[in-house]
């Protein structure tokens, strides 16, 4: 017996609104469809009306968890447009915060995976240890979320010896706890049985559907922007790309925990080899007419910003392609042939950051099923026309 069940837009499994419509037969999913656009905020238009300096804070607020990745990606691009090179100490500090953000994001993900699987104790423990990282970030940058430590030409704040030693001290605690979580994750039977074999994505499919981030690395594709196209100081910092061969949610968990251990090594290297010097350079306000594509490895995958300038101090166009958007087609493939009980886990395994991915609105014609992409001004015009013409309806029924 076929049901069409809507997961979302409001659902306790989702942290942000998205509409996944699944066709079920019993407990098995036979088809899945996704509708986006509930979290659209018009960021790309807002970015065109603000200067490059103000846009740093705007791009930071695209997401709360991966905020530093968006602002670093943007600032990298703008520094290329303005042809300035930030000093080495500034770059080291910028990527120290980036790796700390990766640690906090992966610990958050571990907790969320535990919560979706019903394993609340794991959730509480990982989030308690994440507080250590949040406190470090608060002492470095002044705020726990939205660190705002980037500026055009470097970073805004410096760290002193006391902060450096504090970070090195907490790294030991974090290393011990992360190994403990690896141990639990591998040994707790209820947890492993929920994760193993769920959300299978073969290597061929992952390559064909352009999956990014840990979702792709768990299917044995060693793809990482930090190694493929090194930006910043990643050409000098030694680390390995972590992959897993099981192609399922357990593989993605293992990839993320291995990446945590790599992050700790990288943070230690960055702190011990921090060069002396200034942390930023002066930049001009205007950028010459040019266009740039900036790539960055966010905790969720590859983040791409395209910036076009026209000689003024405001960008002509900003386009953001967040990693979660690239993972949606792969998610739909993974959802088919799965159980309904696995929906939250499969969806959580790509680490969805839905607010990062809201860029366009797709209109679907309810009767004919045809889709078209519209601009915001068109939507406003359509809405005004409809309200002016519509009579008062009683007993209206939602069309789906």
């Amino acid at each position: 017996m076929k049901f069409t069940v809507p997961i979302g837009p409001q659902h306790p499994a989702l942290k942000e609104p998205i509409s996944l419509r699944m066709t079920l037969e019993g407990e098995v999913i036979t088809d899945a469809d996704v509708r986006l656009g509930y979290n659209h905020r018009g960021l790309e238009k807002l970015a065109e009306e603000r200067t490059f300096l103000q846009n740093i804070y705007l791009t930071e607020r695209i997401c709360g968890i991966c905020s530093h990745s968006h602002t670093t990606c943007f600032v990298q691009g703008v520094e290329k447009l303005m042809e300035v090179e930030p000093p080495r100490r500034g770059l080291y500090l910028r990527f120290l915060v980036a790796e700390l953000e990766r640690v906090h994001s992966h610990l958050l993900w571990l907790g969320v995976a535990g919560h979706e699987a019903g394993f609340d104790t794991f959730f509480m423990y990982t989030w308690r240890d994440r507080e250590v990282v949040m406190d470090i970030l608060e002492t470095i940058s002044g705020n726990r979320v939205h660190y705002a430590i980037n500026t055009l030409g470097g970073v805004r704040r410096d760290i002193d010896e006391i902060q450096k030693n504090k970070i090195l001290g907490s790294l030991d605690l974090l290393r011990k706890r992360s190994e403990y979580y690896l141990h639990i994750g591998a040994n707790e039977p209820t947890f492993v049985n929920r994760l193993a074999g769920v959300g299978y994505l073969s290597k061929k499919d992952a390559l064909a559907l352009c999956a990014v981030g840990p979702a792709a690395r768990a299917s044995d594709i060693p793809q990482d922007v930090r190694k493929d196209d090194p930006y910043g100081i990643y050409a000098e910092v030694p680390f390995e790309v972590c992959t897993a061969t099981t192609c399922d949610v357990l593989g993605r968990t293992v990839v993320r925990v291995k990446e945590l251990m790599q992050c700790y090594n990288m943070i230690e290297f960055l702190l011990k080899n921090l060069p002396e010097g200034p942390v930023s350079v002066r930049t001009q306000r205007r950028a010459k007419p040019n266009e740039v594509v900036s790539r960055y490895e966010a905790p969720r995958g590859e983040n791409i910003h395209y910036i076009k300038s026209n000689g003024t101090d405001k960008p002509e166009r900003l386009k953001v392609r967040a990693p979660t958007l690239a993972n949606y087609p792969a998610t739909l493939l993974m959802l088919k042939k799965g159980y309904i009980a696995d929906i939250p886990l499969i969806f959580a395994a790509i680490d969805p950051c839905i607010c990062c991915a809201e860029r366009t609105a797709t209109l679907v014609n309810g009767r004919s099923g045809e889709e078209r992409v519209v601009t915001f001004s068109e939507l406003r015009r359509l809405a005004r026309e409809r309200w002016q013409k519509a009579p008062i309806k009683k007993d209206a029924v939602w069309p789906f």
Binding site: R50, Q54, L58, T139, T151, L152, N187, P189, R282
Partner: protein, 132 residues
Amino acid sequence: MKIAAFLPELLRHLFKKPATVDYPFKKLEVPKDFRGTPVLKPELCITCRACVRDCPAEAVELFPLEGPEKKFRLIIHNDRCIHCAQCVDSCPTDALFMDRLFEISAFSRHDLKRQWEFQKATVKVKAQVTTA
């Protein structure tokens, strides 16, 4: 695969202090560089309006007052402020600084504005500024 792999850890936690804090009866300390709300030192402001230009949220307002003396009023709209501290960085004379308040809720957004009336100062601009 062991059953109940972290049972000893759970039992040990029965005797440890909880990691959570009984807010609002006990509060945590914020670090010294915490970005709270912006505060002006009126004797240092040269009314160059760099903060007004650079604020991403249009939260700083500066306008001259009527009258014989050259008085200005600076309003910080804390309901619009996003606590990024760009105004502090842009100011050439260090007239703005961030305090450490974060519990700034009020019942109406008009209670969240802070203003200063002052005379324009003549202070030397500091030599190194991060962005022009």
